[in-house]
């Protein structure tokens, strides 16, 4: 379901910085194809993050987020070797979860 994300998580001074790239069209629904037919909206609507299995972040997105979205946020705590898992759910109900080890 979708292509893998790229997740980078780095712990420093008690804060874990997470940087995520997601592979998604993020179609607005406002665009038309070459024959003039509207392209239906299709976008990541929700993103959640877990640190070592515990929910830490949740976001709701609209189609104004750029194609192949980039997201960066900071978690209090976390240490090298810990796990950060990101899940997205899109407007078609498709979803994907990827995990990275904190460096």
């Amino acid at each position: 379901m979708g292509n893998p994300m790229k997740i980078r998580a780095t712990a420093k001074d008690g804060v874990t910085e997470v940087k995520v790239l997601m592979s998604h069209e993020m179609e607005t629904g406002f665009r038309k194809d070459s024959s003039g037919n509207p392209i239906p909206a299709w976008f990541i609507a929700e993103v959640t993050a877990k640190l070592d299995g515990k929910d830490v972040m949740k976001a709701q997105w609209g189609p104004s987020i750029s194609k192949n979205p980039y997201l960066s946020f900071k978690i209090k705590g976390g240490a090298a070797g810990g796990k950060v898992a990101i899940t997205w759910v899109d407007s078609k109900g498709d979803s994907r979860t990827d995990q990275a080890t904190i460096a």
């Binding site: 292509n3 893998p4 790239l21 997601m22 592979s23 194609k67 192949n68 980039y70």
Partner: protein, 271 residues
Amino acid sequence: MTAHPRAGLATLLLVAAVSAGVARAESDATIEGIEKYREALRDGNPAELFEAQGEELWKKPAGPKSVSLETCDLGMGPGVVAGAYAHLPRYFADTDKVQDAESRILTCMATLQGVDVKKYVDARWTSPEKDELVALATYVSGQSKGVKVAASATHPKERAMFDLGKRMFYFQGGPHDFSCATCHGQEGARIRLQDLPNIPTQKGAAAGWTSWPAYRVSSGQMWSMQWRLADCFRQQRFPEPIYGSDVTVALSMFMAATANGATMDTPGIKR
């Protein structure tokens, strides 16, 4: 108007000088703003997503023979990917041709995997076939990140390719009289706000050659050098260059050899 003509002229000059100054300040702010924007994009280049896809394609058995591309010879011996892109295009004895990374990948797909590559050559950009080729080129180029460009110059066919590429670079045609040189043959020029590398110089060739394949922010697409060249020709109002053809390899040879010594910074990110 009763003012002395001299005074009028002086005023005019003063106004001109002031407005020029204002324009310059505005343009400095613009350039600074754009630099900040580009800097913000560099951290988290979506090209990494395509690099990962390319790596998967490279290592996955595929085609009628169901083998991977891992034993492909990109010029540094079978299976050597690290640093290979920085040494291309180069002459390959098995095909008796000078090849860039992308035409060489096609060769490997045909010989190792038994794939009918004509379908890949003919497929339009943004087709699944071309997406595969671009992802593969992105992966291979990424394995040369930080490596110095060293396009070979020893074989007569490489030399001939360089000369043909240079000639193509200056070749004018179409309703607009455009050649590559129209936009890429002068120092410090830009189209709209887009800086144009002066490709016949080492610095200019390096700016172009070392930053493609690149993620294009405007379209959210990953473009290989072949795609970059094809779209330049489209904008020149030229017919479509055939994927991996000698025209494209010749221009790549001209650029790569002119850029020799520069450091690969692929995959890049572009407006």
